[in-house]
Each structure stands twice: as C-alpha cells, then as structure tokens.
C-alpha cells in the first residue's frame, strides 16, 4: 500500500477543513484526487506530504507515518504543482542537480541519473540552457521528470496541467502512465474532467469529506452519468462551502 489514510481530520479553529477521510492507494496506481475549490483537497494533500499535522486520524505514506515522522516522508515523495516547479534562471542540468540534492540524493548518483534522464527526454543537447527560455511544454515535461528524479515511492501532482495546450497535456499524461507502469504511485489533482477519466481510481471531495470513490466507470455507472464531468457536477453542485 502506497498511501493509507484513516479518519484523517484537520481543523482550523472551529472550521473542519478535512473531515474524517479514509482511503488507500495501491503501489503504481494513478489516483485522481478531485473536488471543488475549497473542498479541502490542498489541506489533505499537505497532511499527506508531512507539511501539516492532522488534528486527528492517521496516514501512512510510502510506509512512513505522517504524524510520527513528517521529515522522513519528504525524501520518499516527489511534488510538482502548476505554480512552483523549476527555477527559470537555472539551467536544465542545474535544476536537476538542485532538486536531486534537496531530495537527499548523493552527488555521485546524481550525475549518472542526470545523463540518463536528459537522454530519455531528448534534452541532452539543451542541458546548459536556462529553463526560462524553454517552451512551456518542455518545461512541464522537465518539471515532472525532476519531481520523480530521485525515484520516489509516491509523486504528488497538484494541478500539473493547468493552462497547458491539449497536445502537451496528453504528452504529460503519457509520462504519468510510464511512471505508474514503473511502479511509482501517482496522486494527482486536476480540474480537467477528461483527465479524471485517465486515472485508475478517483475520489471526489465535497465539503471536507469524500463524497464518492471508485474507478471512473464505477462512478459513472453508479450515478447513471455519461462522463466524469457529469459525475462531478452531480456530486459537487450542492456543496455548502462556497469555493
């Protein structure tokens, strides 16, 4: 089991941001973590990454207890968001080295891995170019490669494809599939409902709770919906919290 959460809860004062959620994600699974704005996704994700201490409940990520050992978690996971991914004023190669170092890789392991990843991405000749001058599509692919450079057990992707063109979005998902087939567990949030269909399983959070969880086909069948967009709309339109 790559992620296991049990009655995970987070309160801020008298506001319950995450209300008693329980779920498990298998190794190598692509798990879509969906929900309306304000439903509590970010808070839940921060607890799973060891960045925020749960008020109650427990969670184990990559075999490590998020409450007992939050520091250790950070070495076993990768993280990428739309907003923060790479440093524009460092080169492709420097970004890789920097993040690999932050994730605790040893220097001698970094060099060999860097060559392999650059070659696989077709970016070897561009290794000394500043990331800021790469086309956006390339940046996105590079950012994902950097987030799994240290071969984490789980990678957390927070709206990784927002604003990305449709071709690049699909190339990005191809990278996700390849990572998953290598055994990396992918925990991803998105507002694109076609991407929800690409996940092995999804959960949909409404008002701090998990309102539904299952494979996309199970969810569609159980609600009699044609698409994941319809599923989302049926579950989230009555949310009490205003996003």
């Amino acid at each position: 089991m790559a992620i296991h959460a049990e009655s995970l809860t987070k309160q801020f004062g008298n506001f319950t941001a995450v209300d008693n959620i329980s779920f498990s994600v298998e190794k190598g699974e692509i798990f879509g973590f969906l929900g309306a704005n304000g439903a509590g996704k970010t808070t839940a994700m921060r607890m799973l990454c060891g960045l925020s201490r749960p008020t109650s409940g427990k969670a184990v990520v990559a075999g490590i207890d998020v409450v007992k050992d939050p520091e250790k978690i950070k070495r076993r996971i990768g993280y990428m968001s739309q907003r923060f991914s790479l440093y524009d004023d460092l080169t492709v190669s420097e970004n890789m080295t920097l993040f690999a170092g932050i994730y605790g890789m040893r220097e001698k392991d970094i060099a060999a891995k860097r060559t392999a990843v650059l070659t696989r991405l077709g970016l070897y000749d561009e290794r000394d170019i500043l990331v800021g001058s790469l086309p956006l599509g390339w940046k996105q692919k590079l950012a994902f490669s950097v987030s799994i450079f240290h071969e984490p057990a789980v990678v957390f992707l927070d709206e990784p494809t927002g604003g990305v063109d449709p071709v690049t979005r699909r190339q990005f998902w191809r990278q996700i599939y390849e990572a998953s087939e290598r055994g990396i567990t992918v925990f991803v949030t998105t507002h694109y409902m076609d991407e929800a269909e690409y996940c092995h399983r999804v959960s949909i959070m409404v008002d701090g709770r998990i309102a539904a969880m299952g494979t996309p086909s199970e969810l569609k069948a159980s609600l009699g919906a044609g698409t994941m967009d319809d599923v989302f709309y049926m579950l989230a339109r009555n949310a009490e919290r205003i996003g």
Partner: protein, 304 residues
C-alpha cells in the same frame, strides 16, 4: 461597425515575439472567445485592447475609439478582469466594490441590478478582506468590480483558470445572462470545452490566430475523419499500436476513449486494420470532432 477591432497587431518583448500579426473583429453584443494555452499571447492582446500597452505596429479600436489616441475614453467604457487577482487584498469585499464604483463616478446602488446575481453569492462575506477569500469568491468579486460601472465591453482574461468544473459552469451561465443584457464580452480561456459556449472563437497559439469562426463551423471544417475506440489494457501500448496503423495520422486519449484521426481510411478499412493488429474493435465508431480535436489537428500551415 464592430464594437472591437484589432488590425495586424504585432508586439515583441525583446527577442520574443508575443503577437505576430493578430487581427480580429467583435460584433456588438456578442460573446467572443480567445482559446489558447499559456504563452499563446492572450494576455498581451488583452492589454493592448484595454489600452494598457501600445503595440509595436498595427492598431486596435474599441467602441469606435483608438486604443492609443483615445485611451481615456476607452477606459471609461470598458471593464477589465485581469487573469491575475488585482483587487485590494486589505479592503473588504464591499469596500472594493464601492471603490471601483466611485473611481468610475457611479455608485453601487445605481448599477446594483447588473451585479446582483453574482454579488448575492458573496454578500454573506461582505465584511471579509478580499485577500482572505477563496479562489471562487475572489473571481466573483473581481467580476462584480469589473462591471459595476456598466461597461459597454467586458474583457475577461482567463476568468475560469484553476476554477473547479461546477464553478466554471456557473460562471458561463453568468456570462450568458450578461450577454442577454446587450453587453459585448471578450473572454480568454485555456479550457477547450468552453469554446462551444461562445458565439465566435479564435484559436490562438504562439502569438497567432489560426482559426476564427463559430464553434460549430470550426468543428464542421475539421476536414478529416475522426474515430473513437475504447481500448482495454495498457493505454500507452494502445496509443502506439493504433498510431502505427497505415493511414492513421494521430491517436490520442480523449476522456475514456481514444480518438483516431485519418484523412484516408473509412470505418470499415480502419476496423479491418485494427482487428488484424489485434485490437478489440467492438467499440470502434466514427465520431464528431470537438474544438479540442481541431486545436490538436492544427499545423503551421493553418495560420490565418
């Protein structure tokens, strides 16, 4: 006369050409969408139309005024909601709204009917500072502030980016209601599915428009056959396998199916070839292209 027109506009930032010869015409009272990914040049174009930057060459007119010569006239007549949240974070919801009204020499009361629908949803939080609002609420407040002076033209730069699907639907319903009141609306978005809700859309990439038409006409002119199939097993293998079939130009995931593009194959021919390559073709069918399919089919010869 068009309410907004842009002619042969070019703009560079140093060596980067952000806009390469862009032209458009927007009819009064219509909802015009500019659809394209980050970096396409959407925001630069909005800033030119709203008089905030001057193009290197070409010109733009809004409500009959020139965006360079008649800057001040235009500023009174348009509402602009930038992509980046730009209200005063340390003023409350109601303070922001009154401020914007007073800057335009009007009052919230005078035009309340216009924003009422949207403002009602954030009214319970009217005493809250704007910086403390959630994303969806900020967006609603920004829209209210952009139109509290009853503008003739409303410019909305990526109002739905990062917004969940339910709020996106509600937002577009709001736009339809505003349009019904006669307002001209120009909206940009990276979400291809929102294109179908506009009267006219321009598809934009790398600083240029490559298609401008009604969403229906864009998909009618796809010009190739599009098929869909539900493939079991490894998606990566299916994508590669189907793309390698002779006569197939592209194969990509689309929701829970794969889309296959071909200009030469009939359904029968594709079925036969896919079956002999070992695919379960029981779900293979011809389907209608969406704006997203058209966007992906674009190549460099398609620029307007």
């Amino acid at each position: 006369m068009a309410e907004v027109s842009v002619r042969n506009v070019r703009l560079s930032y140093g060596k980067i050409q952000a806009l390469k010869d862009v032209s458009l015409e927007v009819e009064e009272g219509s909802l015009f969408g500019i659809i394209g990914p980050d970096g396409a040049g959407k925001t630069s174009l909005f800033r030119i139309m709203t008089t905030l930057i001057v193009p290197d060459s070409g010109s733009a007119q809004v409500c009959g005024y020139d965006t360079v010569k008649d800057m001040m006239e235009i500023r009174r007549l348009v509402g602009y909601m930038p992509g980046h949240f730009s209200l005063y974070q340390d003023l409350t919801v109601e303070e922001n709204l009154s401020l914007f009204a007073s800057v335009f020499n009007t009052t919230v009361q005078e035009n309340y009917s216009l924003v009422e629908d949207i403002y009602r949803q954030i009214e319970p939080f009217r005493k809250r500072r704007a910086g403390k609002l959630s994303g969806g609420m900020k967006q609603k407040l920004a829209l209210c502030c952009a139109m509290i002076h009853r503008p003739r033209v409303l410019f909305l730069d990526e109002p739905t980016t990062g917004v969940d699907p339910v709020s996106r639907k509600e937002f577009w319903q709001m736009l339809s209601r505003l349009k019904a009141q006669g307002m001209t609306i120009i909206v940009s978005t990276p979400y291809m599915d929102e294109a179908s809700l506009c009267d006219t859309v321009s598809l934009m990439k790398d600083g240029r428009f490559f298609k401008t038409d009604s969403p229906g006409a864009i998909t009618e002119k796809f010009g190739k056959r599009l098929f869909e199939i539900k493939a079991g097993g490894s998606t990566v293998k299916a994508l590669d396998g189907l793309a390698a079939i002779d006569g197939v130009q592209a194969c990509y995931p689309f929701g829970d199916r794969l889309h296959i593009v071909s200009s030469s194959l009939s359904l029968a021919e594709l079925s036969e070839r896919a079956a002999s390559a070992g695919y379960d073709i029981s779900t293979l069918a011809e389907c209608t292209p969406t704006v997203e399919d058209c966007f992906m089919d674009f190549d460099n010869n398609d620029y307007e």
